[in-house]
């Protein structure tokens, strides 16, 4: 998908061989493989499902998978940036819900034109993110707590917009954004997700601001010493993460053709899991968009494959837990294997 950054855990996107810890390995191919654990886990998973079911391996289903993960994927892009700075954002699920409720309320209750309401959803998301960011950079709250509070407040507000009821009745073109597959495969939402992924990858790899996220995550103090405006960059990272959650809310609304105040409940953990499966470290300074894409695909493929196999949700919970362990353990221990 993105040719810009092509290596998982190496934050600089350069050849993993060059950054090898072990100077005398001799097995270049092994080192090369090792740099791609998340991608390899994903391939193994796909192979498994392709063998276990006869419906998994078809263009149509793979399109379904991509379609299903647009919401998670869009949120994971922002979450990657946040996690690379050494933070975490627990509020994305609530912000998603609040944004889509505000959008629905503005368009269906206040009568605002839909495109303006969609903009408003993004602005709400941005505001929530900036709120968390201010708590973190100005009030010195740990990100976990600041975003936990935003999560609670955001959910409360999302419910208050319509006193807890859903909003239905969007124009047809709105729901068509995620349903009409142009050129046989590209819905607008999927296209949006692909473009955002490429942009995010380029940003994180090649823009100075993107690189400074890695510096901040590696050590905020070092970054400050190097003249990077740590607080400002951090603030906007949460802002963008919130805005992407707002966008994910809009996408979810088009997919469901409705706005639900309970939407996105528990998505924060899925999103974080996807980013970490992709090789990012919660202590900051490590992680790539490419890796996150692998992580998002892993979770998407897993859910899709298990559904195709008709596995009960209880067993699905167990399998998903196990796959998270395996994928991350392989990545964490790759140098020792």
């Amino acid at each position: 998908m993105s040719t810009a950054s092509s290596h998982s855990t190496s934050p600089d996107g350069l050849a993993p061989v060059a950054t090898s810890v072990n100077p005398v390995s001799g097995f270049a191919w092994r080192d090369h493989l090792i740099g791609h654990v998340p991608a390899i886990s994903l391939v193994v998973l796909c192979l498994g499902f392709a063998l276990a079911t006869d419906t998994f391996w078809s263009i149509r289903n793979l399109l379904n998978v991509i379609d299903q993960l647009t919401v998670l994927g869009i949120m994971a892009l922002g979450m990657t940036a946040v996690i690379v700075t050494g933070g975490i954002d627990l509020s994305v699920g609530s912000v998603l819900a609040l944004s889509m409720m505000v959008m629905g309320w503005l368009s269906n209750v206040m009568g605002l034109p839909m495109p303006l309401a969609m903009m408003a959803a993004l602005i709400v998301g941005l505001a929530c993110g900036l709120g968390s960011g201010l708590l973190i950079t100005r009030a010195n709250l740990p990100p976990f707590i600041a975003t936990l509070a935003t999560m609670s407040i955001g959910r409360g507000l999302a419910n208050m917009v319509t006193d807890g009821t859903q909003i239905v009745g969007y124009p047809d073109w709105f729901s068509a954004l995620s349903i009409n597959r142009h050129m046989g495969f590209l819905s607008v939402t999927v296209l949006l997700f692909i473009l955002l992924t490429i942009a995010a990858s380029l940003f994180m790899t090649y823009r100075a601001a993107g690189r400074s996220l890695y510096a901040i995550g590696g050590s905020a103090e070092v970054a400050r010493l190097a003249g990077i405006p740590v607080k400002r960059v951090t603030l906007w990272t949460y802002g963008v993460c919130g805005m992407l959650a707002g966008l994910a809310g809009v996408v979810m609304s088009t997919r469901l053709d409705s706005s639900q105040p309970s939407g996105g409940l528990g998505y924060e953990l899925d999103t974080i899991a996807a980013v970490v499966i992709g090789g990012a470290s919660l202590s900051g300074g490590v992680g790539t968009i490419w890796g996150t894409l692998m992580g998002v695909l892993t979770i998407g493929v897993l859910r899709n494959g298990l559904n195709l196999m008709g596995v009960s949700p209880f067993v699905q919970q167990i399998v998903i837990g196990a796959v998270i362990v395996l994928a991350v353990a392989l990545d964490a221990n790759k140098r020792k294997v």
Partner: protein
């Protein structure tokens, strides 16, 4: 303020933390192309002054600064950098997960067409590393480098800042002579271009070679200023500590020829091949030195002996009993302890109190029967820090101490274990002359008490001054063991670069 020159002018710099005056009315002038050496005991305020100049710390009211003829009041490091003032911090500040190149250019990435120009970045970093004699790829992750190599990266970073004033806070603390020479070449080159320097170091020999002027701080006050570098070391020591230190290295009697072997190391090899065939013996009462140039593998050897890293092959015996090394706890149980080189990462928990830090190593002593006695912990810590002359109280957070005082806390917590074998890795990194003498005295006391002492140091004088025998290492191999009589600097260097 009337500035007679175009450099840095400081007047009345004060800094208080709570009610502690760390700096009191310091005046300092640094002219273009001049190198001012800043000397002083541990905790004298050198790093704090450097931090004030670099915008990291805000001075108290009343401080006035001017730089290049203009009033200068940096609110953040970014301001200082923008004004052309760069600092390399005493405690190394690098990002282990990023490459050397990226660490060097962090915050000032070379751009081309809106993208970070990785090729240019690697190339420029490579050139700078070459100049400093560091033979590693600029694409390596910094986390895989040794302390000394990291320090060189830090220097490379400072040298590429294109600053007009560079503050180097103990840049050579982890470096050997070779690397120091390379650094000085670069300093001379930049000075010729009109770059000014403030240079902080505890190595007086270095100061004599490189300084244009010397300023000495004591307790946050400027106590002496010399307009040239040719000041007798004894004079400088007196300025710094307020008394004379007559003898740096104490006399330590050679162990009796029939003294028992306390530490026997045979055929050690590392799993990753960084060292192999390491064998030596240290007698009870003997001080055994490990010399070599940076990257020789000394730290790895002693880490393995202390059970910190795994071994591929080889045995370690203490008092004739083989020690099974699976973790540092095993070595400690065999009364073999290591005072590590990296105090920040391995030595102390910075936010915790000195007393707590000392207690962590000595839980069996401060918590008899597993029950901790707070009073006992405090008095235990009090005794130790008094013995080493730490400037601080047991309840103080270790992170609020100056670098040198932290190092003393690290040594203190290991002293208390009353070991049979003690290994010091760079024991005086960043330690002032007065304290250095105190630490050497501790080493001597331990040897006299019949301990086997191993000293690893990049300071050749230190190894030679303390040790009865010196083993020289190069590229992970033993190049030979020299007795005190054989061990001249020339001979050691010859083996070290062989």
């Amino acid at each position: 303020m009337t500035a007679q020159h175009d450099g840095l002018v400081l007047r009345g710099i004060g800094k208080t933390y709570g009610t502690v005056n760390v700096l009191r009315g310091v005046d300092l002038d640094v002219r273009p192309g001049e190198l001012v050496a800043l000397l002083g005991e541990n905790g004298a305020g050198k790093s704090t002054l450097s931090s004030v100049i670099a915008g990291l710390v805000q001075p108290d009211d009343g401080a006035r600064m001017a730089w290049r003829g203009r009033t200068y009041a940096p609110r953040s490091p970014a301001d200082a950098l923008a004004a052309g003032i760069g600092l390399i911090h005493q405690e190394m500040r690098l990002l282990p997960e990023l490459t050397i190149a990226e660490n060097i250019f962090i915050g000032r990435w070379p751009m081309r067409g809106g993208r970070v120009d990785r090729a240019a970045m690697a190339e420029r970093a490579g050139v700078q590393l070459q100049r400093l004699g560091l033979q590693v790829s600029p694409l390596r992750k910094v986390g895989t480098l040794s302390i000394a190599q990291q320090q060189q990266v830090e220097i490379a970073k400072a040298l590429t800042l294109e600053a007009r004033l560079l503050i180097l806070d103990e840049p050579t603390a982890a470096l050997g002579d070779e690397e120091t020479d390379r650094l000085f070449e670069q300093v001379h080159r930049l000075k010729a271009e009109g770059v000014s320097f403030i240079y902080v170091s505890h190595r007086l020999a270095e100061i004599a070679r490189i300084a244009d002027r010397i300023v000495v701080l004591r307790d946050g006050r400027q106590v002496a200023s010399h307009d040239h570098a040719q000041v007798p070391p004894a004079q400088l020591v007196r300025d710094m500590v307020g008394r004379s230190v007559d003898r740096l290295f104490p006399h330590i009697d050679a162990p009796a020829t029939d003294a028992p072997v306390a530490l026997r190391v045979q055929g050690l090899a590392a799993p990753d091949g960084r060292f192999r065939d390491i064998s030596f013996e240290v007698r009870s009462g003997e001080v055994f030195g490990l010399a070599g140039i940076v990257g020789a593998g000394r730290t790895e050897v002693v880490r393995a002996i202390a059970g910190v890293d795994p071994l591929a092959t080889g045995t370690v015996e203490v008092d004739g009993h083989a020690v099974r090394l699976r973790s540092p706890a095993d070595a400690i149980a065999a009364q073999l302890v290591l005072v590590p080189d990296d105090r920040k990462a391995l030595g102390v928990v910075l936010p915790h109190s000195i007393a707590d830090n000392i207690a962590y190593n000595n839980l069996d002593q401060v918590a008899p029967g597993g029950w901790l006695r707070p009073q006992r912990t405090l008095s235990f810590a009090q005794q130790l820090i008094q013995r080493l002359g730490v400037k601080g109280r047991p309840q103080q957070a270790a992170g609020a101490l100056s670098g040198g005082n932290q190092q003393k806390v690290v040594i203190a917590k290991w002293l208390a274990r009353s070991p049979r074998v003690i290994i010091f890795d760079e024991p005086t990194r960043g330690i002032d002359v007065g304290a250095r003498a105190a630490i050497y005295e501790v080493v001597a006391e331990m040897a006299r008490a019949g301990l086997a002492v191993v000293v690893v140091s990049s300071d050749l004088d230190e190894v030679l001054g303390l040790s009865h025998r010196v083993m020289v290492m190069a590229r992970g191999r033993n190049q030979g063991v020299l007795s005190r009589e054989q061990a001249s600097s020339a001979r050691v260097m010859e083996l070290a670069v062989a």
